[in-house]
């Protein structure tokens, strides 16, 4: 059993190294003594006998070392001793070690965080079995996934590409389980939803297709694990209980497993109900309306062997069938597939682009850190050239010396990587419990997994080898004889080195980051002061859905009128208005197709515009501060019996009628043929997000187009701490069971500001890191050049050079690099900002403040980095220096 014997020897060598070594020592000693005895016996005099024996042995230390090298496991042992030596070396120079570890920790940490988010959102958005064959269906001509329910049924039943097609739609409802009713977020899901996704219940059961028997036939609830935990305190008895959902009785039939959060990566619903019961949730039966697209996502697993292209053409043939069969409702139906989890390409595309860009930036930062550490390492290797030369002279091979240097580099990178990973774990865990919007169950599910650890480790090791490799050439060229003889030879190079280019690139990168973060911050600031078409300052929103509270038909309008009336009586309230969906706050509004009065055929492709539709009360425009440009506002006389009227914005007027003046008094038609007269023009505003182009919008009377969704816009300069409770108590005097959500408009607008906030924040963090790296880089190069040229500078000073000249000589190179790098970076940053403008409102680098800010920041950075080397250069005392040498 040779393997067994070898393993035993290997272990013995490792574990009992000390005993093995003293054994060897003794063996060699006895060998020498026996040699001497032999010589004595041969008749040599004692001294001669010893000498001859020693010559024959040939150096007992060398023999021992040769034996050690022949042993099994010798490689491992020497690595361990390299590590010991490396740690000792690093301890001797704690400043260097600290700089290297901190730099690496930041760079690796940044990469780990970015990768963690990328991993969670893009690589593994849903924790579902066989997620790689799961696809969402989106429309071919727009980034939208909405389907009408009848269309979904046709897609589900007519396709030959999917193993079942599931549908789900997010909604809000009032859930009353006996104690404190609350507004919950839920998914309306098709009966096959859980079966298609392969989700097994944690408790009880889930729904199946067999539960669906027409509208409102399946009043069942499957709780999410999280809401079962928080709202029902892990009570197993919750299954089987009957609760009130919007005042309808529903039975809790089961609990979903903990890892299942629905099919949107960042949106956790409280529970699931069958989609056939949507009328009880939404207040309006939409199951048979083909013209209204409201089903949020349809998705399923591709059948084995079906390619994406095959599936797409299959879906499109269904699309053309739908076009032919229902020309009025579906006249442009084409489909494509999208990866699940991020709502098709609508969110998926920008999120993927942004994350890829961030990952790229983080990678560049790591590269820059490696370049920096590489030059620090090279400088250190130069300082240690005597040591290296000595080791070479004593017979160490160059490979052995290099292995020592690499061991140090890898040690540093592992320590840095560990610190960085730890930091990123804390950050990622923080991110994943963070809920940016109090009103929505939105969060970033970025809990780190093994992928993140593996990537961090890999990056740390790679960077260790990268920067460890920088001084290799230097070591290979070391001539021990010259160095031991004459000490370090400082060559003052004039040519541009690789190190210079690396540092220049790094400064440029830092300038790019500083520029783009400043552009982002300025854009953010501008978007806070921007013109939204209304004034959010001192505006408070109270929103509710009257349908959830059990109001139907004419009761809704009646209640809304009473709500406005009582709110107006609250002291300090200057004006109150009501709207069905608040621009930039609620996301529930959809477009409405508009036709000119002359269009006879009302099919979607003939539409003149796709306008946002808002139902408003009289007084809305005054309350929110939207300027009326022409005509009149809605009044309480524009009721059900009066002719239909609308107020439109400028963009609507331009698009449909050519200009605002031409639009006044004219008529347009809605999809159902209703003729509406334009009675007023208001200013344009922002409706969906801050970066959108001007969009057409119309405002109709809430009496003529009723909406149970209700936003009370209340203008008041009163302190919020008093105003909010006053509104709550006043409105709830009308109906104590009314679910009411009150918050200042500014705060509710966080949703639309979120992307630009995130962009500004992440760019700011990266910019800060880039700046720190540049500082260490410039510092390194400046300090190195001052050290190398101390003698020359001393002579110059002795010969009468002025302080300025000394500084120029010592730091000129670093400053030139800084200036060149900053200029390049600024230019690149200006180019990069075009990308930013899709995320951040009015992001433009052609802003004197940004330009000045970048120049100032880079100058400050340069001063910080060169401060210590400059002080050192100026404090040179030529007399002392020259005497020393």
């Amino acid at each position: 059993m040779p393997l067994l014997v070898k393993t035993r020897s290997f272990l013995r060598n490792l574990l009992f190294f000390g005993r093995r070594d003293s054994d060897l020592d003794q063996e060699i000693r006895s060998h020498l003594e026996m040699l001497i005895e032999e010589n004595l016996r041969a008749g040599m005099p004692p001294k001669e006998a010893q000498r001859a024996a020693r010559i024959e042995l040939g150096g007992s230390e060398q023999v021992k070392e040769q034996v050690r090298e022949a042993r099994l496991g010798n490689w491992l042992r020497s690595v361990v001793s390299d590590c010991h030596f490396g740690i000792r070396q690093l301890r001797k120079n704690p400043g260097f070690a600290a700089v290297a570890i901190v730099t690496l920790a930041m760079a690796v940490g940044a990469n780990a965080v970015v990768f963690g988010v990328l991993n969670a959102l893009i690589l593994h958005p849903l924790h579902l079995p066989d997620a790689e064959t799961l696809y969402e269906i989106q429309h071919g001509n727009e980034d939208s996934l909405y389907q009408s329910y009848p269309d979904y049924l046709d897609l589900r039943d007519r396709n030959h590409s999917f193993d079942g097609l599931a549908a789900c739609n997010g909604a809000e409802a009032n859930l009353d389980s006996g104690e404190n009713p609350y507004r919950a977020w839920l998914y309306e899901v098709s009966g096959n939803y859980f079966d298609v996704l392969g989700v097994q219940p944690y408790l009880g059961r889930v729904f199946h297709t067999s539960d669906e028997h027409g509208a409102n036939s399946a009043p069942y609830i499957v709780l999410s694990y999280a809401s079962w935990h928080t709202r029902f305190q892990d009570d197993r008895g919750a299954v089987g209980r009957t609760v009130q959902l919007n005042k309808h009785a529903f039975t809790i039939v089961g609990v979903a497993p903990p890892e299942f959060h629905g099919t949107l990566a960042f949106f956790n619903p409280d529970f699931f109900v069958p989609i056939v019961n949507q009328e009880q949730v939404d207040g309006e039966n939409l199951l048979d309306t083909r013209g209204k697209r409201w089903v949020f996502v349809t998705l399923g697993h591709l059948r084995a062997g079906v390619t994406q292209a095959q599936a797409t053409s299959d879906l499109n043939s269904i699309g053309s069938y739908l076009e032919k069969t229902y020309p009025k409702d579906d006249d442009q139906r084409s489909f494509t597939l999208a990866r699940p989890g991020l709502y098709g390409d609508y969110l998926g595309k920008p999120v993927r682009a942004f994350m890829t860009a961030l990952m790229l930036l983080a990678g560049l930062i790591l590269l820059a850190a490696c370049a920096n550490l590489g030059s620090l390492f090279a400088a250190r290797a130069a300082d240690r050239s005597r040591e290296v030369a000595l080791r070479l002279a004593l017979g160490a091979t160059r490979a052995r010396v290099m292995r020592q240097l690499f061991t140090e580099a890898v040690l540093l990178s592992l320590m840095g990587g560990a610190v960085g990973l730890l930091g990123s774990l804390v950050l990622l865990r923080g991110l994943s419990v963070w809920q940016p919007f109090s009103k929505f169950p939105i969060h970033l599910p970025v809990n780190p997994d093994t992928n993140v650890y593996a990537v961090a480790l890999l990056l740390a090791l790679t960077s260790g080898f990268l920067f460890g490799a920088v001084p290799v050439r230097q070591v290979l060229r070391t001539d021990p004889y010259e160095i031991v003889k004459s000490g370090t030879v400082g060559k003052v190079g004039r040519k541009i080195t690789v190190r210079d280019v690396l540092l220049g690139m790094q400064i440029a990168l830092c300038a790019v980051l500083v520029t783009s973060s400043m552009v982002a911050v300025r854009g953010l600031e501008r978007s806070l002061r921007g013109n939204f078409g209304f004034e959010p300052l001192n505006l408070t929103l109270a929103d509710t859905d009257l349908h959830m509270a059990g109001y139907n038909g004419d009761d809704v309008a009646e209640m809304q009128r009473r709500m406005i009336d009582v709110t107006e009586t609250i002291p300090g309230v200057t004006s109150v208005g009501l709207i069905s969906a608040m621009p930039l706050v609620s996301r529930g509004y959809t477009g409405s197709l508009i036709f000119t009065d002359e269009t006879p055929d009302l099919r979607p492709s003939n539409a003149a515009a796709d306008a946002f539709l808002f139902s408003v009360s009289p007084g809305y425009f005054q309350a929110v501060g939207t300027a009326l440009l022409m005509g009149r506002t809605i009044t309480w006389h524009d009721d059900k019996n009066a002719p239909r009227v609308a107020m439109i914005n400028q963009e609507f007027a331009r698009k449909t009628f050519g200009s605002p003046t031409k639009a006044m008094g004219r008529y347009f038609k809605q999809r159902d043929g209703t003729r509406i007269q334009v009675v007023g023009i208001v200013e344009d505003g922002k409706y969906n997000n801050l970066t959108e182009d001007p969009q057409p919008a119309m405002f109709v009377s809430i009496l003529q187009t009723p909406s149970s969704q209700t936003y009370l816009a209340i203008r008041s300069e009163r302190d919020l701490a008093q105003l909010v409770p006053a509104i709550r108590s006043t409105v709830q005097q009308l109906d104590p069971g009314l679910p009411l959500y009150i918050e200042p408009c500014r705060k509710q607008m966080n949703t639309v500001l979120f992307p630009s906030r995130m962009a500004a924040m992440s760019l700011g963090v990266l910019g800060g890191m880039g700046a720190m790296l540049s500082i260490t880089g410039i510092f390194g190069i400046a300090a190195y050049s001052v050290t190398k040229r101390l003698r020359e500078l001393g002579i110059r000073m002795a010969l009468g050079a002025q302080r300025k000249e000394v500084l120029v000589a010592a730091l000129g190179r670093a400053i030139k690099l800084l200036a060149f790098g900053s200029a390049t970076g600024l230019l690149l940053g200006i180019l990069a900002s075009r990308v930013l403008s899709s995320i951040v409102y009015q992001a433009t680098p052609r802003d004197p403040l940004v330009l000045a800010g970048v120049v100032l920041a880079m100058a400050l950075l340069g001063m910080l980095a060169t401060w210590i080397p400059a002080r050192r250069a100026l404090s040179i005392d030529p007399a002392i220096l020259l005497r020393e040498e």
């Binding site: 040779p2 014997v5 070898k6 020897s9 290997f10 060598n13 054994d23 060897l24 003794q26 063996e27 060699i28 006895s30 060998h31 003594e33 026996m34 040699l35 005895e37 032999e38 024959e56 042995l57 040939g58 150096g59 060398q62 023999v63 040769q66 034996v67 090298e69 022949a70 042993r71 099994l72």
Partner: protein, 110 residues
């Protein structure tokens, strides 16, 4: 000391050590002298090659080591052939036979 000593041929050291241990257990110096004797003084093994080889062969399991007393009552490390070592000697001897036959043939050919 003989004048015409040659460095041991690459790859034959193991075989010679195994062969010399065939006579019985012996210490490092004994092995070294035995090889000189066996080869009629043509080959001498320097300690710098002998000891690494002995230790390596011990790890391979061909020989085993133990501490004993030398002829002058000095503690010395002794080596002895194991079963695996005898087998290895056979293998190496056969191999060497083939090589020397081939070389001899090559040199005799005209």
């Amino acid at each position: 000391m003989k004048t015409e000593q040659t460095a041991i041929l690459q790859g034959t050291l193991d075989m010679l050590i195994l062969r010399s241990l065939l006579a019985g257990e012996m210490h490092g110096l004994g092995v070294s002298r035995r090889i000189e004797q066996l080869t009629g003084g043509t080959f001498s093994v320097k300690p710098g090659s002998l000891f690494p080889a002995l230790h390596r062969m011990e790890e391979e399991g061909w020989i085993s080591a133990f501490w004993g007393d030398s002829e002058n009552n000095r503690r010395a490390k002794y080596y002895r052939l194991t079963k695996a070592g005898r087998k290895q000697l056979e293998v190496e001897t056969q191999k060497w036979g083939r090589i020397s036959w081939a070389i001899a043939r090559a040199l005799e050919a005209s």
